[in-house]
Symmetry: C2
Subunit: 236 residues, 2 copies
């Protein structure tokens, strides 16, 4: 899991808060990475008794790895990151626990990516407290800057960037959209340019418009008409 607030507020791999390099990952790439990850797990001779997908980032990788391993016992746990108002720090905690007794079991925890490493650190510590036989970790992509090195990963990421997986694309782009217009109203072509400028993302206007309409419907944005241009801004 990538920790959005941590990386945007504190990461040493990023020079400004509101501009950083992103990479969109396709489902074809996710399939390739998941197959590679499953092969590495098999090749190691290790076979878990239980796979635990970290929610929400590990759901798709967990399901795909369990397919390539022809493995049935997939469950999940949820970790959430929250801000401590007192010191503006982000902390992680277990939101939904592992719903089954793992005593004496070989547990494989699967997530999409290591970023700071805090998620897997917490997940492993929690799982170990439940007396399993062993706990191992697997991710599709491992950022080498992470403070946690998983046992298995399909690919190393050497140069920090924000990875946008297909299952988080909508929410990620919605978050970026709100950042882009937070200092003032912009029209669709300006927003599109900002996506390219700030995040290196070439998006279609239709995709951005869908998000703008959706956020407006949710009451988070509002739009005004000016010189026949439609402008979006954060609803105050």
């Amino acid at each position: 899991m990538q920790e959005r607030k941590i990386q945007s507020q504190q990461s040493r791999h990023q020079t400004e808060n509101d501009s950083f390099r992103c990479e969109l990952i396709s489902f074809d790439e996710v399939l390739r990475l998941s197959r590679t990850l499953a092969r590495k797990i098999k090749a190691s001779g290790y076979m878990p008794d239980l796979i635990v997908a970290i929610g929400r980032g590990g759901y798709v990788p967990g399901r795909l790895v369990s397919d390539f391993l022809i493995f049935n016992d997939l469950t999940s746990m949820k970790i959430e990151h929250y801000s401590r108002a007192a010191d503006m720090r982000e902390e992680a905690r277990i939101k939904f626990p592992i719903p089954v007794d793992i005593t004496g079991k070989k547990v494989l925890i699967v997530d999409d990516i290591t970023d700071t490493g805090e998620t897997l650190n917490l997940a492993v510590g929690y799982a170990l407290s439940l007396n399993p036989a062993s706990v191992r970790t697997a991710v599709l992509q491992h950022k080498v800057c992470s403070g946690f090195t998983p046992d298995f990963y399909a690919q190393k990421i050497l140069k920090w960037r924000w990875i946008i997986y297909p299952w988080a694309r909508y929410e990620d782009l919605a978050g970026f959209t709100e950042k882009i217009i937070q200092n003032g109203a912009l029209d669709i072509s300006q927003i599109k340019v900002e996506f390219k400028h700030r995040y290196g993302l070439n998006l279609k206007e239709t995709e951005i418009l869908e998000i703008l309409d959706d956020l407006t419907e949710r009451g988070e944005l509002e739009s005004t008409e000016q010189d026949k241009r439609k402008l979006w801004s954060i609803k105050r």
Copy 2:
């Protein structure tokens, strides 16, 4: 969830045990279906407090729907289907429960598909026993022959067929491969022809070979050489 043994042994929608129509679904199609499903949920005015993905089929749809709804609280439960040796019937049971208190909550259960409907029937009954405010159900595809009609679905399937989702493709094709060679050793081109003949599937030999090698490594198949042809059969 499609119930493989039920459908292959008992379904009235199928004339023989070892031949039935299949359809491969791409991830692009899954994205379209998930977006449609999320739109229908939003359009209804309903917003859950918790989304519960059914394991394992609901993991990817659950994650994608939660993205399109920009919804955070995703968890899972696992239902398994098992054979009762006494009467050769398949039954379903809760394997991993919902790991969080749902008292007073609006719960949305997400799965990939309704087939017999037994999975969602059991899941809803179980969830209702935990005193939620309400329980609703959503699937990507709803077979109209199902005994259970979900509250939300992206698409109706009128004519029964076995749907192969990208997250179950490997295991599904491995299962079909074992059926194809269960009555005798076949070479790769014969297996490819049988995939087309029995299931209507045009597969590449490379994909079948990978599965054959994998099942051989797992000790489930064995191969022999005959007249310079490599033949695969079930390991006895």
